[in-house]
């Protein structure tokens, strides 16, 4: 049986892991390669590294970070943040990424998803969607949550799948960094509309939040940062908790 995946997210700025609340007020959480190594040992199923500054001068330094992180990992690595073109994707993949997460650039030009899928296969293309509740719907935001778009999260996920995305990384802006729980309504709405796997992100605080998002939320994977960064035995303890709740996870 296919296991539900636990994914650790490293938000990287200037070579350092940081973590914010509602996409703002960042604080430092350590060296990316050291954290990746720890997660690999602890039994995390996958790692996502996001470049949260993505300035032009920061790009080259970020590639060094990807290289350092990928050296420590024999599990899948997704890289996102500032992937604007095929050249950016190529640089990330050459540095050791298995998948690239595309967000604002795909909103600006959805055909980018198709071009990346043609070159690397859909399994390497993750559409990252940041969404916020607005009157019973979920509006998509671009540019790290700063720019509102006209798109609805469910509709955009369906379109992204048809254009070649192989997975959806779905972040609730309302819940990001709050530890108030995943947005299970958002996640289940998207997950039941697409046939590709959906990774829930934003709001993880307790172990029950994970069992909720895997059951009520219909998530295929759950991503978190702070929950894993600041506690040593979190991965093993969380997996035990999920097994006790009948949720299949990797041993």
């Amino acid at each position: 049986m296919l296991s539900k995946r636990l994914i650790a997210c490293l938000d990287v700025r200037n070579g350092c892991v940081v973590k914010g609340v509602n996409f703002e007020s960042l604080r430092e959480a350590g060296d990316p390669a050291a954290l990746a190594k720890r997660y690999n040992i602890e039994g995390i199923d996958e790692v996502v590294v996001l470049d949260v500054t993505a300035t032009i001068e920061g790009r080259r330094a970020f590639e060094d970070t990807i290289r350092a992180v990928s050296r420590e990992l024999f599990i899948p690595l997704t890289v996102g943040g500032g992937i604007r073109s095929e050249a950016d994707a190529a640089a990330a993949i050459d540095a050791g990424a298995d998948k690239v997460g595309v967000n604002s650039a795909a909103l600006a030009d959805p055909r980018l998803l198709t071009r990346l899928a043609a070159r690397y296969g859909s399994q390497a293309v993750v559409v990252a969607i940041d969404a916020k509740r607005e009157g019973g719907r979920f509006r998509v935001f671009a540019r790290s949550g700063s720019t509102s778009t006209d798109r609805d999260a469910v509709e955009w996920a369906v379109e992204a799948e048809s254009r070649g995305a192989g997975e959806v990384l779905l972040t609730s802006i309302d819940r990001d960094g709050t530890r108030a729980g995943f947005d299970c309504e958002l996640t289940s709405a998207v997950s039941s509309a697409v046939s590709i796997p959906v990774i829930a992100s934003g709001g993880a605080g307790t172990f029950d939040h994970f069992s909720e998002v895997f059951t009520a939320g219909l998530a295929d994977a759950a991503l978190a940062a702070s929950v894993f960064h600041f506690s040593e035995h979190a991965v093993a303890d969380l997996k035990r908790h999920l097994r006790e709740h009948g949720i299949p996870v990797r041993c």
Partner: protein, 199 residues
């Protein structure tokens, strides 16, 4: 010398890094004739079966000749599918045909999601050199939409909607549908088993 075939459809960095952890440095042959010196051949690959079109002709002939000499061959993911006769994903592109059968798309029924992405468990119907030391129900990382049928060559099967061949083995021809280079300790063990076969 183990050769890693670069036909433009593989994450060679990861495969090379995995084999490094398994104690072997891979070289990438520039021309098919370089395979005459190979003690083992790895065909990686992610993406569309159509990408294996680049192997048709000289590469396929050179790989066939090496296998006939007894050189171990290892197909990973798309590389394993290529060991079969072909795939519905690109019907006009022939596979190597070393294994009988045809790859088809995974069924997308009853809430089953395709691509099949994530960690799933192996069923081991028989002994295998490649899977030596890998226990029943070991979990490995998959990411694919098409799969090979379960035939007598299947060294391991996996189920996602339907059962499919997760690993194949006949004499010195090996293949895995999952990514050993992304399957943590179990994956590195499998790479080490191939390195031993190619010695």
């Amino acid at each position: 010398m183990i050769a890693l075939i670069d036909y433009g459809a593989g994450n060679l960095t990861s495969v090379r890094k995995g084999f490094h952890a398994a104690g072997a440095e891979l070289m990438t042959p520039a021309v098919p004739a370089d395979l005459e010196r190979a003690s083992g051949i790895v065909v990686p690959g992610v993406g569309n079966f159509g990408a294996t079109r680049a192997l048709a002709g000289d590469w396929m002939d050179a790989i066939r000749r090496a296998v006939a000499r007894g050189v171990p061959l290892f197909g990973i993911c798309l590389g394993m599918q290529w060991l079969f006769e072909g795939s519905d994903e690109a019907p006009d592109v022939p596979g190597l045909g070393a294994m009988a059968g045809h790859c088809t798309r995974l069924p997308q029924t009853g809430g089953i999601k395709v691509p099949h992405v994530g960690w799933n468990s192996l069923h081991r119907p028989r002994d295998s050199r490649l899977l030596g030391g890998i226990g029943e129900a070991t979990q490995v990382y998959f990411t694919h939409s098409y799969a090979a049928p379960v035939t007598p060559e299947a060294a391991a099967t996996c189920a996602h909607g339907d059962s499919f061949a997760a690993a194949v083995e006949r004499d010195h021809i090996f293949g895995v549908q999952f990514h050993p280079e992304k399957s943590s300790d179990a994956g590195i063990r499998i790479l080490r088993n191939f390195v031993a076969a190619a010695r």
